[in-house]
């Protein structure tokens, strides 16, 4: 288990109260978001076991604090760019659970009516500008969206999420340099869950912290945070957004976290050392945050009410998706070109 280096930030969190800089309302949002991501992802896994989720899927179980913290700190109009492990980031922007599960189940009620699938969740109206399944591809794309904001004088930020494995591909380095040189309002968020796919990231990376230890190469501050503590994530995100909106350019943030499931549904994660999973579960982000709410004086029944409300949403979404029809065959050839069709000749 990796050691969290940012001890100072953690102790500050523990010492603060419910109505500190984050406040009660936001804390309840952060908690609800994490509960929703946990339950929706767990449901996606259950539906896969029932053979109702087809194709592949890459779950974020254990990584909820990163998605919740960054999304809750965003403003409407801010843009998210995700990877194939993008369910959590999509849900965290407020996309309905039914739309996400529907896409995973390849139904007509899915976000993209089954044309994209689990790895490409997109909801432009929520600022989710796509989930990209080619490692590294979306870092330069996020730069371009940030360039538009800079050029037009807009105040939105582009936030790009990726795993530790992405830090070893060329597009990562091209995007970092490009974003710094052009001083773009883009935030690069590395979710370091310790494994690129099946291989420990440390076995294949020249530095210990794959994103944070590269920041200096691009003149950026080294930011390494506890990605299992939503308060820490929220504060780091808020600071980075503020800097970007003020014209201060990009940030690179490495969040230490852990995924409970394998890389994808095909992976039983047998490569993990014994006890590692259990050790990380002791610092489970949802559990940790639930305890903090109680410590700050939030009543047990208020917490339970949130959990029940989310449970009802996920249950209702599941039933709606099971009842939803498959997509009609006539969408096979729509939306290849802007005219709505696929004609390549006259």
């Amino acid at each position: 288990m990796a050691k969290i280096e940012d001890r100072a930030t953690r102790s500050k969190v523990a010492a603060s109260g419910l109505n500190d800089d984050i406040g009660e309302e936001m804390r309840l949002r952060l908690f609800r978001s994490q509960v929703l991501l946990r339950q929706a992802e767990q449901r996606a896994f259950d539906l896969f076991l029932q053979n109702l989720v087809k194709g592949t899927s890459h779950l974020s179980l254990g990584q909820e604090a990163v998605a919740a913290g960054f999304a809750c700190a965003m403003k409407p109009g801010d843009l998210s760019f995700c990877t194939y492990r993008g369910h959590a980031h999509t849900l965290a922007r407020g996309v309905p659970v039914e739309k996400v599960l529907g896409e995973l189940m390849q139904r007509d009620n899915g976000l993209m009516r089954g044309k994209g699938g689990s790895m490409h969740l997109t909801s432009a109206e929520h600022g989710v500008m796509g989930s990209y399944a080619i490692i590294g591809a979306h870092l330069p794309i996020a730069c371009g969206a940030a360039w538009r904001a800079q050029y037009k004088g807009h105040k939105d930020v582009s936030v790009c999420f990726f795993g530790d494995g992405t830090t070893n591909i060329g597009a990562f380095h091209e995007a970092l340099n490009f974003a710094v040189v052009w001083k773009l309002p883009v935030i690069f968020v590395c979710e370091n869950n310790l494994y690129m796919e099946y291989t420990p990231i440390g076995d294949v990376t020249a530095v210990k912290h794959p994103a944070a230890d590269r920041a200096a190469a691009y003149g950026l501050e080294r930011i390494l945070i506890d990605g299992n503590d939503a308060d820490v994530v929220y504060r780091a995100a808020s600071a980075a957004y503020e800097k970007a909106r003020a014209g201060g350019g990009p940030s690179l943030i490495e969040c230490l976290t852990y995924r409970y499931s394998g890389h994808s549904r095909a992976d039983p994660a047998k490569y993990r050392p014994e006890g590692e999973l259990e050790k990380w579960k002791e610092r489970d982000p949802v559990k940790l945050y639930r305890e903090r709410l109680k410590q700050f004086g939030v009543a047990e029944n208020a917490i339970t009410a949130i959990e029940t409300e989310v449970q009802n949403i996920v249950d209702a979404a599941t039933e709606a998706c099971k009842a939803a029809p498959m997509p009609p065959l006539d969408i096979l050839t729509t939306d290849v070109y802007a005219d709505g069709g696929f004609a390549w000749r006259n």
Binding site: M129, L139, Y337
Partner: protein, 326 residues
Amino acid sequence: MAELTYRDAVARGIAQEMTRDPDVVFLGEDIGKAGGVFKATVGLYEQFGPLRVRDTPISEQAILGAAMGAAMTGLKPIAEIMFSDFFAVCFDYIANEFGKSRYMSNGQLKCPLVVRTGNGAGSRFGAQHSQSVENWCMMIPGIKVVAPSNPRDVIGLMAAAVRDPDPVIFFEHKSLYPTKGEVPDGEIVDRLGAAAIARPGKDATILALALMVPRALVAAERLKAEHGIDCEVVDVRSLVPLDTQTILGSVARTHRLFTVEENPRLCGWGAEIVSIVADEAFYDLDGPPVRITTPHIPLPAADILEDVALPTVDRIVERVRRSMQS
């Protein structure tokens, strides 16, 4: 009407669109202060300033990715990839991103951008700076592909590409940059997906693209003068969308089909067109379609080798004559 080089037409075409629409922005390596390594973008930096004409690092993935992100969110970027051979280092965007985001998102995302690039041989640059790679792009659903052969078309097709709501790959031929042509005054706007009959004829149809168009035209004059064979030369101009009606119409009149392709033999654009003609106009043909291409080789650097690799006027004349007289 003024005489303009193909090179100057590039800058004029971009300037026309940047003047019209403040959301048109331009990025690439050495395009701004340096005016482009082929001097095809001279003056744009001075005219439109550093916010709209932006020099980039040597980062082709960053260039195409940034263009896509800007296009998705409201700008109309023109990105330059200096040599089309370099598509291979940023091909993810061309093959996996530009043309798929609209489809995968069920129409939520758009990608209205132009990638312009120096394509083709004739500069003695060797195998990695001379290729004709339009067929790499033609095979990918969701993107459009054009390749102008003269200065007027450079401006008109550039305008059409910039105004098009889909991603367009714009192939400029490096060996055509110094060539001159008459260009009308004022705004020029063409449309994508329209071939042009560059020379009418009744005996055979010769399809050509970019640098092969002027060669096909010279060959047609010689075939007429020396062998009495009257060839119709069709400048294909746009590979996607493909103007099959003009092509099929020409074949229906001449009953013979030749393609002149700079690309190496396998999977060249002519192969697709020959297959369409075989499917849909087989009984219009009086003889087998003939593809005249570069052999299936990497391109050599030496001038005497490169000159014989590409379809030459002599080779076009000889191949058409032999086929027509057999």
